[in-house]
Symmetry: C2
Subunit: 194 residues, 2 copies
């Protein structure tokens, strides 16, 4: 791989200044050299309705699908709602995974981060791993970034300041870089149905 | 329980004439005598954003929460998208489960139906059971209604006509009736945090 590595970051929360969006910011700041980190904007993606899908796929969805297709790896930061991922995040995945035979997640490396309360989002991450596996993604399993008691790790401006947490994310991104380079050497065919 | 039993049906698909909506119609037609079956309208519930939630809960959400609170049992019919429930359905649950300390799902009996392809929605139903358990719902586990190759079970007008499937749903609703009556005899406190 002689071109630059492109990473696409997706936050599962629409809240301004959400902890999980800030995890992505921290990840983007601590990427190994030479990696281009792009943030997805999911705020304009509507609720999925098959009737709408049959008429026209919204531009916001087409743009996201194109970003996924161009990315060498996807980083998703997710909160946990009711021991699963937010409906908002699942809705984005539902849109982008259609039509099935050209869905752009297939074969893509995925790293997952999450900031939450006592569980540290491990329930949500478990569901997300199952969903990602169903889409044929290649999932980085370690190190796991599941931040407990997130509110203690951020400063008044919402910036992630906890040093141990920052180091963990830096380690995960370094591992993800190696994972992507390794994945690109395998015979994967992005975009092929699974 | 000397009053009539109220059941609230929620479809996880927004599509007009969706198979899962039709499963609810079939369930409503085959309920034991004296049960009132109400259909929830989730089409107006927006994407969850904590910033919006902090300002005002939408009327569509307040209405749904009130319907859930008044119901003696909830019936959810869900399609399966990417081995989980639709983002649209999860989004509705995310809204209705806030604030946590007065969320209306706690203690409510739940029956699940699903119509899909080869898997019959068992992946989606598994995730939904975990989400419902996290909300403190009482889940009817048998009989399972997971309809494979749904398109073969409906007629040209979208009505569920397969006799075996109709009987299965009838059996499930009879079991759900008994389950609700049994649950109401236990010391459950709907609306109490779990």
């Amino acid at each position: 791989m002689d071109k630059k590595i492109h990473i696409l970051g997706i936050s599962g929360s629409l809240r301004n200044g959400s902890y999980n969006r800030e995890l992505l910011v921290a990840a983007s700041e601590m990427m190994p050299e030479g990696i281009i980190f792009e943030f997805a904007d999911i705020s304009q993606i509507p609720l999925y309705n098959e009737d709408d899908y049959s008429v026209a796929i919204p531009d916001s969805v087409l743009q996201l699908k194109d970003q996924i297709r161009r990315a060498d790896g996807i980083v998703i930061a997710t909160p946990e709602y009711n021991r699963s991922i937010p409906g908002v995040l699942k809705n984005v995945i539902d849109w982008a995974s259609r039509p099935r035979n050209t869905q752009p997640f297939s074969g893509k490396p995925l790293a997952i981060l999450g900031a939450g309360g006592r569980s540290g989002t491990v329930g949500a991450q478990g569901h997300l791993k199952q969903i990602a596996a169903a889409l044929g993604m290649q999932i980085l399993l370690e190190p796991e970034v599941a931040i407990q008691r997130a509110w203690e790790k951020f400063d008044g401006d919402g910036k992630l300041v906890d040093e141990n947490t920052r180091q963990l994310i830096k380690d995960q991104m370094a591992a993800f870089n190696v994972f992507i380079l390794s994945a690109s050497e395998k015979e994967i065919m992005p975009g092929v149905p699974v």
